[in-house]
């Protein structure tokens, strides 16, 4: 399933932040988004994930194909690691969390409450959720925050394995993951301030 973004414009809080963005993400490929803070990477990812409507342009091939990982991991502190994963697996209509636990070295933590994990361990659990969704397109927003070097390598391996199985990934990150991926700098697509063509345009 190819994810195609055509002439996309996105807005945050009613203010256009990016415009004229087009790319295609084919199975087996990864696309890394780069750009300074505040440029609109998160807004772009939320739009592609369908959480907010695009200002203009279109996103094709995303519906029911994507798994989205945001800044926060969506973990419940009073559930154990395994319970958190089992819940997300069954929401996505799947079972079997062993592969995800192995992939992010969480086997030894499986019966610990998520609230008792360190920041990096929580992140690993949040990322392992992607493995239980079974969705082909991963959309990830700064996935490596608070991960150590080993965990980043673990994450890169997981993405590589996912790409090897014909999946694809759209990742906003500031660090080099060591993936063979295209890099898209969203800086040049920054939206221009709206032109005021009428004297009372500010009131409209």
């Amino acid at each position: 399933m190819t994810l195609t973004v055509t002439d996309l414009g996105v807005a945050r809080g009613g203010i256009p932040v990016l415009e004229g963005l087009s790319f295609a993400l084919e199975p087996g490929k990864a696309l890394i988004l780069r750009g300074p803070n505040g440029i609109g990477k998160t807004t772009l990812l939320r739009t592609v994930a369908g959480l907010q409507p695009p200002l203009k342009g279109r996103v094709d091939g995303a519906e029911d194909q994507i798994a989205y990982a945001a800044h926060s991991d969506g973990l419940k502190p009073t559930l154990t690691v395994a319970e958190n994963l089992v819940f997300w697996a069954s929401v996505f209509g799947r079972n079997g969390i062993e592969q995800a636990l192995d992939g992010f070295d969480l086997q030894s933590l499986r019966d610990r409450q998520a609230g008792a994990l360190s920041a990096g361990q929580k992140r690993r659990l949040g990322l392992s959720r992607m493995l239980v969704t079974g969705r082909p397109i991963w959309i990830m927003d700064e996935p490596t925050v608070s991960l150590d070097v080993n965990s980043v390598a673990m994450f890169a391996d997981a993405v590589r394995a996912h790409l090897g199985q014909g999946g694809s990934a759209l990742i906003a990150t500031h660090i080099d993951l060591g993936l063979e991926a295209e890099v898209l700098d969203v800086g040049p697509y920054k939206a221009k301030p709206p032109e005021i063509d009428d004297f009372d345009g500010g009131f409209l």
């Binding site: 959480l51 989205y68 926060s72 973990l75 419940k76 559930l79 997300w88």
Partner: protein, 218 residues
């Protein structure tokens, strides 16, 4: 869907889940009322249906601000919105979980607390029936209020103000059933209206809740 329901129930019963909150509040209200109005058993038995209904309603209201806010804070709501589950069913399940953890215990506790207020013997069955019919509406309407205010920090006040007027019809007909039942009068009319309110809220409000949730998630 069942996974979401089970998760919400599990969360409610674990530490800090707030399972007992509504029940404890209900208990406090009904225990305190005789102290504040004085030990006149005649007066108490006259106001008992209304006090019990009001207590149940406020107990319900108290637990609403956790309903969606916790999922919003830890990011689960964003992830649920991108999951295969339609948002309409997500909010329905959330309302059901709220009813099981808040409404149902209130229904079961009400007859016991009715004794404290000297509720007439005839009133017990109608009190339970009216609460059983009315509390689902309270949960569904409350979910709508929670969805409206989900992005707001400390949105509890605004939510109470928004939800209160929507609760009024349920309260009027619910306590009317209990009052008429206690006085041995016919209860059919308010009972049917109460059932109608519940049925309409359950049928329509999940769509409204999902729509406002979509707007709030942007």
């Amino acid at each position: 869907m069942i996974a979401l329901l089970l998760r919400d129930l599990k969360l409610a019963f674990r530490a800090g889940g707030g399972f007992g909150l509504g029940l404890a509040f209900f208990l406090i209200v009904t225990v305190m009322v005789p102290f504040s109005v004085g030990p006149q058993s005649e007066l108490l038995s006259r106001i008992a249906p209304g006090v019990l209904w009001l207590g149940a309603l406020l107990a319900c209201l108290l637990s609403l601000d956790r309903l969606l806010a916790l999922d919003w804070e830890d990011g689960s709501l964003d992830l649920l919105a991108t999951a295969p589950l339609p948002l309409e069913s997500t909010v329905t399940i959330k309302a059901l979980a709220h009813w099981i953890t808040t409404g149902l215990p209130l229904v079961l506790a009400a007859p016991v607390l009715g004794v404290l207020l000297n509720l007439p013997v005839l009133g017990f069955q109608w009190l339970v029936v009216s609460l059983l019919l009315g509390t689902p509406a309270l949960s569904v309407i409350g979910t709508f209020g929670a969805a409206l205010t989900v992005g707001l920090k400390r949105g509890g006040l605004l939510m109470s103000l928004l939800v209160m007027p929507l609760y009024v019809p349920t309260l009027i007909f619910g306590s009317e059933v209990a009052r008429r039942g206690a006085e041995g009068m016919a209860v059919q009319t308010p009972l049917l209206l109460l059932a109608g309110i519940s049925a309409a809220s359950i049928a329509l409000l999940p769509f409204a809740s999902a729509a406002v949730l979509r707007v709030n998630l942007r």
